[in-house]
Symmetry: C2
Subunit: 167 residues, 2 copies
């Protein structure tokens, strides 16, 4: 717990030529990568919302559907590992998808601890109705597919780093 003794509060002009530690003292919100990610995540959500409203889905529900369209019949834990969500988040979310008739939830007959999540016919059919969603979002992003892929790869790498650090 370092106890430096420097002046506080007043909006200081940024020191362009300062070293890292000094920079970290004088930065504002806009300098935080985490804030850029945080706020962009919300911005994506706002773009998705009107598109997903038509399907009756929220964004995390949509992610689950995408995962199931790619591979049907997954466990709660398996979905959580892919989407990085805990069962405490997924269980109620999946119950809502079940209430919407898009998925079914059944205990695995071989291992009664496991719950298997599968697409219903309506869940499968939804894929067609959701067909244009990624294209609409791609357009809203204003990025070329090349830019997008590079950015996607860099951020995914960043996520891996953070996971490793979070041991």
């Amino acid at each position: 717990m370092p106890e430096s003794h420097k002046p506080e509060t007043a909006p200081q002009p940024p020191h362009e030529s300062a070293g890292v530690s000094t920079l970290l003292d004088t930065i504002g919100l806009s300098d935080f990568l985490c804030f850029a990610i945080y706020s962009t995540s919300h911005a994506f959500n706002r773009v998705y919302k009107p598109l997903l409203d038509e399907l009756g889905l929220t964004y995390p529900q949509y992610l689950v559907m995408v995962a199931l369209w790619a591979e049907n019949d997954q466990t709660v834990g398996g979905l959580g590992a892919k989407i990085f969500l805990e069962s405490s988040t997924l269980t109620p979310l999946l119950k809502r998808l079940e209430a919407l008739k898009y998925v079914s939830r059944r205990r695995d007959s071989g291992d009664e601890r496991v719950v298997r999540v599968s697409l219903t016919d309506e869940g499968r059919a939804l894929r067609q109705r959701a067909h244009d969603v990624p294209r609409c979002v791609l357009e809203a992003s204003g990025l070329s597919e090349t830019q997008l892929r590079r950015l996607q790869a860099e951020i995914t790498q960043l996520r891996e780093n953070l996971h490793k650090a979070g041991v």
Copy 2:
């Protein structure tokens, strides 16, 4: 509402040489930029949590404190414009910061509609205790400051694009 009639569900191998529209049919979660952002946002949160727990703050509360350290005495609306949050989110959050004695909330005497949020002495003092947080997170990110700044700028641009699209 496009009504194509193609086979569904089974995990198809990605067509490396396919055009955009076909690509969008066969992608999985890992191909979505929005998912990379979404999951990395959560990953950041997990890195921040143990650091902020010591200060009694959540991540969005920390953002408000950062904003106030940069410029004291801001309105609810002004904070919301910077952090991209609605009053429905900020009002209860600010009340919690007030309960923690880090900020005070007062109606503006000139315009009684406005609530001004200011740092308390404890809120100012917290800045010292939070001094190492950005450095810890920077280290966890595993990025050089150069990489970090470039990525931060690109994502901020992306956020601006999404805001424009979301008219």
